[in-house]
Amino acid sequence: MERTAIRRRLTWQLARVVEGVTETARTTSIVLAAADWQGHLAGQHVDVRLTAEDGYQAQRSYSIASAPEDEHLAITVQRLDDGEVSPYLTALRPGDELELRGPIGGYFVWEERLGGPLLLVAGGAGVVPLRAMLRHHRAIASDVPVRLLYSARTRSDLIYRAELSEYETTITLTDEEPEEWNGRTGRIDSDFLAETAWAPAERPLVYVCGPTGFVEAVADALVALGHGADRVRTERFGPT
């Protein structure tokens, strides 16, 4: 295991909402101006804290959707109608303020020194930290080969669809088989991976993010295909 030297205390800071970007009917990207932000690595997350008038506080972690090189910090929030925090966040308006601290996490990150080929496998909202990696990859003009496999329920659930079409992306829909659809349908299983991923002999560095069932299935299939467990990094993406 490699080591990092992140020992700086993570203090809460105020960030101002620059804009909210509607990604899908249920997901909104919140673009933030955080004056004291010290930078992050692609794949890290941030803690957000809300405080009620009586002092009650709720905290949640969100993957950072923006690249380190982007002007603003962004998170992408999936709204759960009965959620405690996500309805509040997705209703924020430009100029509203939010407390946050980070960056957090240091294993599910991609930096160019880690090399590749870089295989990103997303299930649903799990695409968020992988999008940060793609944006970082582009911002540094990396020549590491990179590929995204992205599974969503339906077309209308696809986040960042237009942006992702600029990369080598294979999209598959699990709950819809639309006419005039030139992507794939069905789950990302062993056959899918055998066809679309680099061969194990090329030792791709793989990042898998999505709901638990998705991550378990994809990571198990990768290992069964012969990819080294030490080349597969995972993050489970739980809705809150």
């Binding site: 905290q59 996490g105 990571a219 467990a229």
Partner: protein
């Protein structure tokens, strides 16, 4: 920084009975979320063992069969994940670390737990003694599922749950305090949820 009020935020509090059981910044979930850094190891019990090694007079090792023959305890505990969820009244069956450490002669003050898949986490020896830690192999009377750490995981419910290492294969007793996997990535070295020790410096 002092917390500023988030205008219009009400929040959803736990019931009064639960409130005292939920550490700051945590929310209660009925689910059992899964967090792991890599693929889930699927270790057959036939080749599983549990070891105590390091600064001990004589290293110890148990096969699965021997481990199952040790006195077990049923534990009901609230668990708290650093990713903010808490789960109340979880029930486990496992072997107390007191049982495993019984008769182990050591001057070490620290423990580094090691696991299938390469995960490690560090704890003070005092935090795994005196009825505070177990190696659990059943969850809710069922064999512990691989994604939750089966065949066996550490259970140290008074600390954030990353200390309850999944797929545990043993503990190394150490004079020095060697940071484990997440501790090396900026998570708190000790991890007391009641003091909200999530990250280094908290």
């Amino acid at each position: 920084m002092m917390a500023g009020v988030s205008p219009g935020f009400r929040g959803r509090r736990s019931g009064a009975a639960d409130a005292a059981r939920v550490p700051p910044g945590q929310y209660v979930t009925p689910d059992f979320p899964v967090l792991s850094a890599g693929p889930t190891p699927h270790q057959p019990t036939e080749t599983w063992s549990f070891e105590i090694r390091g600064a001990v007079g004589k290293p110890m090792s148990w096969t699965w069969e021997q481990f199952m023959a040790l006195p077990s305890e049923r534990v009901t505990a609230d668990i708290h994940c650093v990713s903010k969820w808490s789960k109340l009244d979880t029930s486990w069956t496992g072997v107390s670390l007191d049982t495993l450490l019984d008769g182990v002669d050591t001057s070490a003050g620290n423990v580094l737990a090691f696991c299938d898949g390469g995960y490690t986490t560090n704890l003070p020896l005092d935090d795994v003694r005196n009825g505070k830690a177990w190696v659990a192999y059943e969850y809710g009377d069922e064999p512990l599922a691989p994604e939750h750490g089966g065949p066996a995981r550490l259970l140290v419910p008074h600390l954030y749950f990353w200390k309850s290492a999944k797929w545990v294969r043993g503990i190394e007793l150490r004079q020095d305090d060697e940071p484990g996997f997440w501790e090396n990535y900026g998570y708190h070295n000790y991890g007391d949820p009641w003091k909200e020790q999530r990250y280094a410096g908290d």
